[in-house]
Amino acid sequence: MPMRSNDSETDLAATVISPTNEAELAGFIAESYARTAPMCVVGGGTRLQPGTVAAAQTLTSRSLSGIVTYEPGALTLIARSGTPMEEIEAALASEQQAFAFEPMDHRVVLRVTGAPTVGGMVAGNVSGPRRVNAGACRDHLLGVRFVDGRGRIIKNGGRVMKNVTGLDLSKLLCGSHGTLGVLTEVALKTLPAAETQQTIAFHGISVGDATEIFARALATPYEVSGAAFRSGTAWLRIEGFSAQVDYRRERLSTLFRDRELEIVGEADSRNLWRGLRDLHHFSASSEPLWRILVKPSDAPAVVAALHALGGEVSLDWGGGLIWFQGSASGSAVRRAAGMGQAMLLRRGALCDCGSFPPEEPAIAQLSAALRRTFDPAGILNPGLMDK
């Protein structure tokens, strides 16, 4: 039987089950399915705030750990889902490689401890600033193994870059937050880490200026790999070989010669983007924190509406992602987001709304039917995505 314990470090539920292999995990879920026993599914428990899923038992994948294969020459890494990100990042760094989508670490802003896992990253489709040109986690996911809500062990995709063999369940599992199945193994595409980076900073500007700068910069062939804004400063990141970075910085500086700008060197640039990625600027507060996806050109209007509610914003993804920290009600924030999609990341004292934005009825119906297909008894993170 899987290990059961009362775990003080994961304060998510009374009983914590931590299977050490896929068969054990499948057995546990099959048994829970038979007795309709809901569970809170987590990896290292760093992405989900305690109390978000009400279930008497917590299932963690963290004992399903270890890198299965890493082939730098094929740009492929396969790892069991509970493998700590720290271990994976170290393996990648030893080959000067990385995940191009630059996954965020949620611990600082959610004020949780524990070790983020690769499975948690995939389940949350967690992506950082480089998403603006490199794609999201789901774009680098090659294949998955998982156990569905009946205890069936299922694999989909593979370990190769191109694969159109049957329906693509990997994308569906990515970002499903444990509601369709519990990941046991993930295969991801790795990419060469950039040799160096620099950042161009524009100080004392408005949100409108920032989105205009982003739109112009991201229309150039200079492969801008970060475009973020907060507190009156916008930043553009350039990465690559050092000669390449110098050249691109020069071209971009020329493009924006009508503006005052400052060049941030490599070391400071790395620190800056780590802080932006992990939202260090929103770590001191425990107020609700929202992640709002918008069309970049809509960002100025949405930010104005959010400012009217009080609180603070920062932008990422060239204006396509707005972070909003403030105590306004959920319905007010979603109204301010307009056509955007607002997701509640840090709940704070808010209790009037679900974390996920409501879906169009036709989409909601399809999503619900898919959840029933994967998890007929509704035991996997119930209520997390379907409120």
Binding site: A74, K171, P296, M385
Partner: protein, 485 residues
């Protein structure tokens, strides 16, 4: 006859055919419905021409709403629907059945919105892949996925098959460049998924639709991510006297931290055919790589020098980098005409399996052995950077039994791909061609959940019948669907 079975047509539907055609004609504009045998014959196959069957009727709508009207009628009459783009599928993905209605997207050709500030284009899905980039030319942007058939193939088919191309090593395939769709469900309902935003917080239904081979819905509009055109691009040609060394060179380039936009591979059989056809001036050797890099002039020079030093450690027969546009064209000329050149040698079966890059040398060696066992020559030309192989099996279609032998050889190659950790199809799709091999890659449970998803989107199992899912495995689902009112 060839070996892939199709289900018997439904006699009830055939008997009601005139009424079904009349219902479609009454609901759609003049000229939208084709039903005379002379005209439906043009739709009896796609680019997998070994299999043919004229459909009951063909509908060519001009709007999403017209697609919905046609779909609703087929739903009400329980008539199978075969979605079709330009018909360039090499896997029989658009092969009709005698009791089906083909719904083609080729007249849905409007560009609906170009938004460079937010980096997307919204089109009807009957536009061709290449015409999307043509629309963006003046803006300095392009649409990245570049299947070899891009002059003819449509966005609808690209989405159905999750198409890629030579440049997807850097830019990704369709699923990485698709932001949203408007689509018609099996019931005729129209729904929208995604849009210009970089993702949605709910379940990734878009990821499920892309590559679903017309099993879940017909996509009529697409919002596509667009990217700025690079400043420049230049290829180089590297010849080796062994396939293994060429494979090693690919792995070393990728591992070096460089990210070329394309790494293409051609073997000696292919090189000889190409030389005889277009005299591209390729070296006489066991394998040639064409590697393309992009950026500014200085960036390109820098990357070429790095690749030169990697290649030189492996003692190449030849290393040639382009200095002018003419030289670039010359390097690409042979690769681009490879399929035509092979066609001059006779009939061929073009396969599409994918293997981990590290297993390329082993796979090539084993294909060579199988070629001797089957007594059929095979040429290899493929996207080496991502392990997507296209072995071309040469055969004589007029010699009795040779097509069947070529198919059996092809199936063995695809099984080999799975055995070394790859998959049955990298970009052409399963269609009917690889349908019965699915159980090689997937267990019964892996397949079960995929078919249960089909149940959710298409409870009547009317969309693109007899594709993707092995007939025996899907029998229970199809029977259950047939019993439903």
């Amino acid at each position: 006859m060839s070996s892939i079975a199709m289900p018997e047509p439904n006699a009830d539907i055939l008997a009601r055919a005139p009424h079904i055609v009349a219902a479609l004609e009454a609901a759609l504009p003049a000229g939208a419905v084709i039903s005379s045998p002379e005209e439906t014959r043009a739709y009896e196959c796609d680019a997998l021409t070994a299999y043919r069957c004229p459909p009951l009727a063909v509908v060519l709508p001009r709007t999403t709403e017209e697609v919905a009207v046609a779909m609703r009628i087929c739903h009400v009459w329980s008539v199978p629907v075969v979605p079709r783009g330009a018909g360039t599928s090499l896997a029989g993905g658009a092969l009709p059945t005698a009791d089906s209605v083909v719904i083609g997207t080729m007249r849905l050709r409007d560009t609906l919105e170009i938004d460079t500030a937010n980096r997307f284009i919204r089109v009807q899905t009957g536009v061709t892949n290449l015409s999307v980039s043509a629309e963006l030319e003046a803006e300095g942007f392009f649409y990245a996925p570049d299947p070899s058939s891009q002059l003819a193939c449509t966005i609808a088919g690209n989405i159905a098959m999750n198409s890629g191309g030579a440049h997807c090593l850097k830019y990704g395939v369709t699923t990485n460049n698709l932001l949203g769709v408007r689509m018609v469900m099996a019931t005729g309902d129209i729904i929208e998924i995604g849009g210009p935003l970089l993702g949605t917080p709910g379940l990734d239904l878009l990821g499920l639709i892309c590559g679903s081979e017309g099993q879940l819905a017909i996509v009529t509009e697409a919002t596509l991510r667009i990217v700025p055109k690079p400043e420049g691009a230049r290829p180089m040609l590297i010849g080796f006297d062994s396939a293994e060394t060429a494979g090693e060179c690919v792995a070393r380039i990728i591992r070096s931290g460089l990210l070329p936009v394309a790494i293409e591979y051609m073997d000696d059989v292919c090189l000889r055919a190409v030389e005889a056809f277009v005299k591209a001036g390729y070296p006489n050797c066991a394998a040639v790589l064409i590697v393309e890099v992009e950026g500014s002039e200085a960036e390109i020079d820098h990357q070429i020098e790095r690749i030169r030093s990697i290649a030189e450690e492996l003692d190449p027969v030849e290393f040639r980098s382009s200095r002018t546009a003419e030289e670039s064209l010359a390097i690409w000329k042979g690769r681009k005409s490879a399929f035509g050149a092979m066609g001059r040698l006779g009939d061929y079966l073009c396969l599409d399996g994918t293997v981990p890059v590290s297993r390329l040398p082993h796979t090539l060696k084993r294909i060579g052995e199988l070629s001797k066992e089957y007594g059929l020559e095979v040429a290899n030309v493929f996207h080496a950077g991502d392990g997507n192989m296209h072995p071309l099996i040469l055969f004589n279609a007029n010699a009795p039994g040779e097509l069947e032998r070529a198919e059996a050889f092809g199936a063995d190659i695809l099984r080999l791909c799975v055995d070394v950790g790859g998959c049955l199809t990298g970009e052409h799709g399963v269609g009917i061609e690889k349908r019965d091999l699915m159980t090689k890659q997937y267990t019964a449970e892996d397949m079960a959940i995929q078919m249960e998803i089909k149940d959710v989107f298409d409870p009547g199992w009317l969309l693109n019948p007899a594709k993707v899912f092995p007939l025996e495995l899907s029998q229970a689902h199809r029977d259950a669907a047939a019993r439903c009112p």
